[in-house]
Amino acid sequence: MPDDAPIFRDGTFHADAWTLIEDDAPLPPSGDIAVGKTRFLAEIQALRARNGSIGVVLNPGEDLDGIVEHLDRITLVALRFTKFSDGRPYSVARLLRDRHGYRGELRATGDVLRDQLVFLMRAGFDSLHVSHAGTREALRKGSVIAVRYHYQPASAEARETAGPVSPWRRRSF
Amino acid sequence: MARKKDFHPVAATANDLRSGAVVYREPGGGWGPDLRRAEIAESPEAAERLLAQAKADHDACLVVEPVLIEIAAGRAIALRERIRDTGPTVGPAHS
């Protein structure tokens, strides 16, 4: 399984079109780059001025203050799961999609496992950076067994069918 | 965990992954339900080795939550471990 296609999106694995720039590395003049929140806030003008798309990477506990007003120029938000059991990124994802109308790529990165797949997709993530071998294999084969019936609206409304009967039932198939 | 001045002999206990049953690591390397047949580590070095082996068995998906427990005169010292060994001290509900 090649490591150069770690991004699962639209049903298949892709190369990562983005470059994550470390806090102390210089911003390259062109290309699509993503930076952490602190750097984003500090260098937003420089980011907006350069030639290339802007992405931001948030750690659990980092909120959207200072980022929301630039969402029109951001085309990647990556939310890091330091541990899959730290569920804060799910709320940030939902706020991005539902509260702030973010339509760019919303990527889950870090401890991303197949057993959280449905939760991730429903919370609004549309791409996953997957390094766990078993998860990559299952996604590649399409062999993830999960529950496709849901009892609450989520941020993936466009990809789900409503009903029947109750206002919040959804089906993701 | 309190540091003990005196080393007590220890056995390795865990729960069987599939059944959840209480098991003890035996000298042959297998795990069985009888504390009386458990391998007893009589020195800190032996205890370290025993724990390492128990953890390897955890990683090999044989057992879960392996720990070392102190033994004296063939019985576990801690009340919790005595209960794990001999079962609940209360009978089931009567019919």
């Binding site: 730290d86 799910y90 919370a123 609450q152 029947p164 009967v165 919040w168 | 599939r18 509900a93 019919s95």
Partner: protein
């Protein structure tokens, strides 16, 4: 009660298939224990001292006879023939094999049951008044809203990896039988001046290491806003709850650290964004769910049953049962019958498979096919004709469950404790058994009156000792079991956390100590009409402390 339709069946079926796959991947080693543990907890599978324990969800404590029979069957086939009803209205089996769990879940699915979210850092079983739908004093059936919450919280994508567990309770009568003020979210239903239904919303109650009574963040929340408001609370908790320390991770700590004013402001701010949108509960949906909880067709009967009255006058035990274990029903000629699972000297809250089947038969014949589980580890037959109570009582006696001790000193709540639980520091069941035997004389119990003793084997307080009139907390003192006593706790609408009375007692001493407390109460009460809790609140701790510790 709620009945599954195709959608509900499909949901549970797929969840079973998912868990079957997760177990297979665990057994094959593809999943490590660290990865698997949250997944199995979300399906109610604990690893305990002796085996895996399976906690089966009984939503708001409501069961049909068919479901109870299936539980009996599972206990017989996969366990050692008995189960334990818990302080959250669920059922636990203590001797389960992991490898059997997928099959057990499949059998549960066949009767519209599951073990989803009975553990783990997610939203747990929504509990409700065990007299719901039958009690005369309720505003509406709280289970309607518990069911709406249950559905909304099932595999909620945003709230499945919370800092810690999250517990909701709903009550709808002025007298709170669901202990809402010691829940993470407590909902107390009421009607406003315009006749509209809504809830007082309590947040941040809980027991455990740092017991706290909840704060009322909203005096009246319209019923339509129920889900939007809860989503706001959960979102705040998910984002801001502490994740650095397991013992400081519940929402009660967040409420305490933020302060009532700030947390209310934060909840209301998020709610303002959600209100009126996708999670608004439409009136037709409330009606649709309410239909499932409509009162069963009950015969029109006179309020007074001559047969029942005559039987009571002839049988003193039945008379006592009538006084203690039968609660007024909203429909004339009916009663709500409590089946005490606290026979003298037995583990509290346990029932054998045979007993479960006998109760299922009674429910089918005499209680419109319905049983309830109370958070005080008893069962309830909610719709029994007064005419039938004598024969029900006789049947209960035959199966060893006719003890007329509901709310008495021997109606003890106890967690499984160190006999079963890997978290425990001390055993609780033997203490309960010994207390039960000490106080077994029914005349003495009658004399003592209402007295709730609650026993926990560790600080996690699953025995709810903090809200016991007398609370017993088992601790480990240098390898010995030791018991601390608390006094004056209560889980009802006058909610209070019990106060530690002084140094603890050994296992040998603790039963005598409790007896001393009881005797002190009997000596100092103003009359037999002053129950223990009232007397304690009037007298304070001092006389009890003196009785226990004065040499």
């Amino acid at each position: 009660m709620y009945r599954y339709d195709e959608f509900d069946h499909a949901f549970v079926r797929e969840r079973v298939a998912e868990f079957r796959d997760q177990v297979a991947r665990r057994l094959s080693g593809e999943l490590t224990e660290e990865q698997f543990k949250p997944l199995r907890l979300m399906n109610g599978v604990y690893l305990q001292l002796h085996a895996y324990m399976l906690r089966i969800a009984i939503p708001y404590g409501t069961l049909s006879s068919r479901q109870l029979r299936r539980l009996a069957h599972i206990g017989r086939v996969y366990d050692k023939g008995s189960g334990h009803f818990t302080t959250r209205q669920n059922l636990q089996f203590n001797w389960i094999k992991l490898a059997d769990v997928p099959q057990i879940l499949e059998e549960l699915a066949g009767v519209e049951m599951h073990a989803i979210q009975t553990s783990g850092n997610c939203i747990r079983n929504v509990t409700a008044d065990h007299f719901a739908g039958a009690a005369a004093d309720e505003v509406a059936d709280p289970r309607i809203y518990a069911e709406i919450l249950r559905q909304w919280s099932s595999l909620h994508p945003e709230f499945s990896f919370l800092p810690r567990k999250f517990k909701l309770a709903v009550t709808a009568a002025p007298h709170d039988r669901a202990a809402v003020q010691v829940h993470d979210i407590g909902l107390h239903m009421k009607v406003n001046e315009k006749g509209e239904r809504g809830f007082a919303v309590w947040v941040g109650g809980g027991q455990g290491r740092t017991p706290m009574v909840a704060k009322k963040v909203r005096d009246f929340l319209p019923e339509a806003d129920l889900l939007s408001y809860c989503e706001a609370i959960l979102r705040l908790y998910n984002l801001e709850g502490r994740r650095d320390n397991k013992y400081k991770a519940r929402i009660k700590i967040l409420v305490h650290e933020m302060g009532e004013e700030e947390v209310t402001r934060a909840i209301e701010a998020e709610f303002a964004q959600l209100q009126g949108k996708a999670l608004t509960v439409p009136a037709p949906e409330i009606d649709r769910i309410a239909h499932y909880f409509a009162l069963p067709a009950l015969e029109a009967l006179p309020a007074r049953s001559e047969y029942y009255e005559s039987a009571r006058s002839l049988d003193p035990l039945l008379a006592l049962f009538a006084r203690r274990n039968v609660h007024a029903h909203k429909v004339p000629g009916y009663g709500i019958v409590t089946i005490s699972l606290k026979p003298i000297g037995q583990p509290p809250g346990d029932a054998t498979s045979e007993q479960m089947e006998a109760i299922a038969d009674l429910a089918e014949r005499f209680s419109s096919d319905e049983i309830r589980v109370s958070h005080e580890q008893n069962l309830v037959l909610p719709h029994v004709k007064l005419d039938d109570i004598p024969v029900v009582f006789a049947q209960l006696q035959k199966i060893g469950l006719g003890m007329p001790n509901a709310g008495f000193v021997t109606d003890i709540i106890a967690c499984p404790g160190l006999d079963f639980c890997s978290l425990a520091n001390a055993r609780s069941i033997p203490i309960a058994q010994r207390l039960s035997k000490r106080f077994q004389d029914l005349d003495r119990q009658t004399q003592i009156g209402d007295l709730k003793i609650k026993i926990s084997g560790c600080i996690n307080a699953c025995g709810h000792h903090h809200v016991g009139h007398i609370g017993v907390l088992g601790v480990d003192r240098k390898g010995e079991e030791f018991y601390q006593l608390t006094l004056g706790g209560s889980g009802d609408e006058t909610c209070s956390i019990g106060e530690i009375v002084g140094p603890g007692f050994s296992s040998d001493q603790v039963v005598d100590a409790v007896e001393t407390l009881v005797d002190t109460y009997l000596k100092l009460r103003t009359s037999p009409e002053e129950p223990f809790l009232s007397a304690y609140r009037r007298l304070g701790q001092a006389p009890f402390k003196e009785a226990l510790y004065a040499r």
